[in-house]
Amino acid sequence: MNSLAKLLEAALFASPRPIPVDELAALDPEASPAAVQSAIDELREHYDVDGHGVELVDVGGGWQVLTRPEYTEAIERAQMAVRPARLSPAALETLAIIAYRQPIGRAEVAEIRGVDVGAVIKGLHERGLIDVVGRAEGLGRALLYGTTSLFLEQFALRHLEELPRVDELAIALRRDGLLPADAPVVPPATDDGATAAAAAEAAPADAEPQPA
């Protein structure tokens, strides 16, 4: 390996988090962006071709060295490292909604899930997977949440666009105009007093930035 690749390897080994390319480049102020990129490529290829227990992964806007999955079980059995706890279904549902609808308020997440999400949102916030990214306009000025770089890292995503696009999902939503043309449903009634009132109750104006 060339000396830049070795330097990058040393830095990547030293860091528990992904390192963005520009920070890798800062390791050697003399190195051109092309040289940094080719050193990254060399390192990654080296791990792959030469047969290593680790690999170089492009994740969350940076590069990170991770162990290969086939060794995880043995490492955990020997108690040398512990896998992070799995997220509960409730946490995953909440995270999925926030990932796709960010910035989004708590009331709107609760509306989609059909259950209160206060405790789940608090837990996701404490784990650093979501953060407050703003406040809604209007009444109450509800806090709006979005996903963090740690979210990308923990789901091995380079960026949010790696999640399936909404129109690629099997179930398409009417709100995106994707309901089958012959679907026998019409937009929710708004002239029905009871329904409208119930909808208003379930979705306070503050947290409902719905596309008009």
Partner: protein, 250 residues
């Protein structure tokens, strides 16, 4: 026989579990409803509400979810839709709104989200199967990066806070919690205009808590200094604030 054994299984689950929603295996009423629609193999766009409603109530009872507000709310919604479906209507009349439409929209939205959950679950599981470096080599944490701060950032943040707060609670640049001196001056000014004043004359109706407190402390302080005299004709009546001529002279 099948029904019986399934009941037995559910009862066992109920006995073991501690948290209704978890033990039921459903993440809420929409999840349960989708499961019923799947089990009954009915068209989500043409839900037989009466049948599904009955099933829903049955499962709620079976799973002992009768106390869970979210399930109760959904049950009530289903019953209402069921009633609306029974109302006579003339086919082809413009403007007839299917009472199920909103529910269908929510179910589809929820179903779509479940699909994303499956994607996330797989991605998260793949990532959980890889370890990152857990040993940090530096003896001490590296010094934090220098801060890039600008006054304008701070002021914009103040502005955000002001706009966000229901009532702007920031009033004083000068760092002090209360302004008793200011309130005392207000009281003195009021008492110069009139010999008898009331609470509302010295503290405006929409006063912030710190202003109320400042006003109260100012009155007490001035009373202590014998500049004014506080009386209350009867309990809960307005407090009367009287100029104390002797005190003012002193």
């Amino acid at each position: 026989m099948d029904v019986l054994s399934s009941n037995v299984r559910d009862d066992a689950l109920v006995a073991e579990g501690s948290f209704v929603v978890e033990l039921a295996g459903f993440n809420g009423p929409l999840d349960l409803l989708l499961a019923l629609i799947r089990d009954e193999q009915v068209d989500i766009y043409d839900i037989p509400v009466a049948r599904i409603c009955e099933q829903f109530l049955g499962r709620m009872h079976e799973l002992k979810l009768n106390e869970a507000a979210e399930y109760l709310e959904m049950a009530a919604r289903l019953i209402r839709i069921k009633a609306q479906m029974l109302l006579p209507r003339k086919d082809g009349i413009e403007g007839w709104e299917d009472p199920r439409a909103e529910l269908v929209r929510r179910l589809l939205e929820y179903q779509q989200m479940r699909e994303v959950v499956d994607v996330l679950e797989k991605l998260g599981e793949d990532r959980r199967n890889r370890f990152s470096r857990s040993y940090t080599q530096q003896a001490a944490a590296p010094p934090p990066a220098p801060l890039a701060l600008s006054l304008s950032d701070l002021l914009v943040a103040v502005d955000r806070v002001l706009r966000a707060a229901r009532k702007p609670t920031i009033h004083e640049v000068i760092p002090r919690a209360l302004d008793v001196d200011g309130a005392m001056q207000t009281v003195r000014a009021v008492l110069q205009l009139r010999a008898l004043a009331r609470w509302r004359d010295v503290v405006r109706p929409d006063a912030e808590p710190w202003e109320v407190l400042s006003g109260l402390l100012a009155l007490l302080e001035l009373a202590k200094r014998s500049e004014l005299h506080l009386t209350q004709p009867r309990p809960f009546a307005d407090v009367e604030i009287r100029r104390e001529l002797a005190g003012e002279a002193a």
